[in-house]
């Protein structure tokens, strides 16, 4: 095809693109332009839109061409940075969430309800003097909190950002709250009411063993000691009776007393 049959604007456009590759070695530039010229010419024939409008500014065309071809950008061309080309694998990793994590979501919904109650108890400190939730309130609030948390997880809503923030807060608070609950379970009844001396876990503050709990334990120990000493006395007195009565003790009693 002779130069005269190439439309003037296309010729000018191609010259400008070639200029945009001016810093490349001439054989490489010629190589690239061979492809580009043939294709641009043919595309110009297929369309009525002026070439500069259809393909964009020739400088940008050249920059995009270089970037896609893996060629370095023009050293003096600060205005056209190489566009970032993420590989498909990079994009895939960015968007994929491990499926098993999604399976654990319901567990998290329950856990965050518990954590929120723990945070509330610690923060308000109004439920009782120690900042712990008494049992009755816990029994009411916990199911409500769980239902709300599950609803937030299951239903579509517009507060996704808020819930994400909530998740972060709960994840951070999980450790102190969990520690507090474990501590309270070890020391007494975690969910009984304050009257009976139990306490629902508040938070990181390590509460001293409530006085009522200590009292109860002391009483229990004393009761146990009393029972044991009574049992000992009883067996000792039986043994004395047997000794007194000698071999006349009824055989049935002996058999009963033998282990």
């Amino acid at each position: 095809m002779t130069t005269s049959t190439i439309p003037e604007d296309v010729r000018a456009y191609l010259d400008a693109v070639r200029a945009g590759l001016g810093d490349l070695p001439s054989h490489e530039r010629d190589d690239v332009m061979t492809d580009v010229e043939a294709s641009v010419l043919e595309s110009a024939e297929d369309s009525d839109v002026p070439v500069a409008l259809r393909l964009g500014p020739p400088g940008r065309f050249a920059a995009e061409l270089r970037a896609a071809a893996g060629l370095p950008p023009r050293a003096d061309d600060a205005a056209a940075p190489e566009p970032v080309r993420p590989s498909l694998r990079e994009l895939a990793t960015r968007f994929t969430i491990a499926p098993w994590l999604r399976e654990l979501a319901p567990l998290w919904w329950v856990a965050r309800a518990v954590i929120v109650l723990g945070i509330l108890a610690e923060a308000t400190g109004t439920f009782d003097g120690n900042g712990n939730l008494p049992g009755e309130e816990t029994r009411l609030l916990l199911p409500v909190a769980v239902v709300v948390s599950v609803a937030l997880g299951l239903l579509r809503h517009r507060w996704r950002a808020l819930v994400v923030a909530l998740n972060v807060v709960c994840a951070i608070a999980a450790f102190p709250v969990g520690y507090g609950i474990a501590k309270n379970i070890r020391e007494g009844d975690a969910f009984s009411s304050t009257q009976r001396g139990g306490a629902y876990a508040g938070a990181a503050r390590s509460a001293p063993v409530p006085a009522a709990v200590r009292e109860r334990r002391a009483r229990a120990v004393a009761l146990e000691a009393a029972r044991r000493s009574r049992a000992e006395n009883a067996s000792r007195s039986r043994a004395r009776t047997r000794a007194k009565k000698g071999r006349d003790a009824p055989r049935s009693t002996e058999r009963r007393n033998r282990p």
Binding site: M1, V32, T34, D35, V36, E37, A38, S39, V40, L41, E42, S43, L55, F61, A62, E64, L65, R66, A67, A68, A69, G70, L71, P83, V84, R85, P86, S87, L88, R89, E90, L91, A92, F95, T96, I97, R102, A105, L152, G153, L154, L155, R156, H157, W159, R160, V163, V164, N167
Partner: protein, 114 residues
Amino acid sequence: MTGMDRSQLLRGALDGAVLAVTAEDDAYGYDVLRRLRGAGLAEVGDASVYGTLRRLYAAGALTSYMVPSEEGPARRYYGITDRGRVQLAEARTVWQEFSQALGALLDEKVEARA
């Protein structure tokens, strides 16, 4: 497509798309462009396609040969190589996994889990 840059998504996937086209049949630059547009990728840029062809050729995923044309300059045709086929297969797998995961997330029927 707010929030998801379609052109960025395309740039990552363009290698696979170009390989797929050349795997079907050898093609020159504008031919590949036409077939990509015909497949529905309207926003694919001319310069991106030509540049990608060169890069894949330089990487050994494509071979090339010149075919003289009576209507104009000789055209450079590109054909896929074995290495290119391997790359295409990998691109297919990666895309499958990616589109499945993303499809599940975007699916209207599946409730969003916060």
